[in-house]
């Protein structure tokens, strides 16, 4: 019972903050609401026995990626609300319609799922030890590729952001 109440509260906060991200006109407020969303999702991950992933969610997403977003917003002074009025009028209603349609389909499909009622995984699954073992044995090649990808990303972003001496 307590678990359901906790999930309900966290889900409401997550949905409201996601709505704020999408429908807010101020980019800085969108960014801050997204941080709140990530934090709430981290709490939901903790209830799913994914402790390691939850802590990493706060460190990586809320603590690094969103700081990067805020940096770019502040450096390029993009914090002012959208001042240009929308020209095209067909985009929004169509997006809402199709979005609602896909959402209805997904909700119907997930309600029709027949899964065993109780969670099967023990609390040990989310620890660093088990994930580390799997990561370095079964998933070793993808891990190395991820390292290459991140290195390429770092080099790429440094090259892109460098001022060319003109």
């Amino acid at each position: 019972m307590g678990e359901r109440i906790l999930f309900f509260i966290l889900a409401i906060v997550a949905i409201l903050s996601a709505g704020g991200v999408v429908f807010s006109r101020n980019p800085v407020r969108s960014a801050l609401l997204l941080v709140l969303n990530f934090f709430t999702l981290a709490l939901i991950y903790f209830t799913l026995s994914a402790q390691f992933i939850g802590a990493l969610q706060v460190i990586v997403y809320a603590g690094a990626i969103m700081v990067l977003f805020l940096f770019v917003i502040m450096l390029l002074n993009l914090g002012s609300p959208d001042a240009i009025p929308q020209e095209r009028d067909l985009k929004r209603p169509l997006a809402y319609l199709i979005g609602f349609g896909i959402l209805a389909t997904l909700v119907a499909q997930s309600l029709a799922l027949l899964y065993p009622g109780a969670p099967q995984a023990s609390h040990e699954v989310g620890t660093a030890r088990v994930i580390g073992l799997a990561l370095f044995t079964q998933w070793a090649y993808p891990l190395l590729l991820m390292g290459v990808l991140l290195t390429v990303g770092v080099i790429g972003s440094i090259l892109l952001a460098r001022r060319r001496a003109s």
């Binding site: 678990e3 359901r4 999930f7 889900a11 949905i15 996601a18 991200v21 999408v22 980019p27 969108s30 960014a31 969303n37 999702l41 939901i44 991950y45 799913l48 994914a50 390691f52 992933i53 990493l56 969610q57 990586v60 997403y61 690094a64 990626i65 990067l68 977003f69 770019v72 450096l75 390029l76 993009l78 240009i84 985009k91 929004r92 997006a95 979005g99 609602f100 997904l106 909700v107 997930s110 309600l111 899964y115 009622g117 109780a118 969670p119 099967q120 995984a121 699954v125 989310g126 994930i131 799997a134 998933w139 993808p142 991820m146 390429v152 990303g153 790429g156 972003s157 892109l160 952001a161």
Partner: protein
Amino acid sequence: MDAVPLNAYLILSAFLFIMGAVGVVIKRNPIVMFMCIELMLNAVNLSFLSFARYQTDLLTQVSGHVFVLFVFGVAAAEVAVGLGIITVMFRLRESIDVDEVTLLRG
């Protein structure tokens, strides 16, 4: 204590995903578009982890967590490069309205 059923997590994940997708289509500020993409990636992470909780053998359970780690890595690299592109775009034309970036030449 009753556990939360899997369907609840999946419905939440679907909500977040659709809101992110609608945001990407609607918004014209590329930074907010990026944020909505991150929202979509997080919704997918949530569904991975909730499926992982309901698996029966350890190998598939852990695979869910490991895959979420890879999604983290990909998202981080993508944000770094994407924000670099936005910075360059802003330096070149002083406005970041996505609807104006229609030519490949920059």
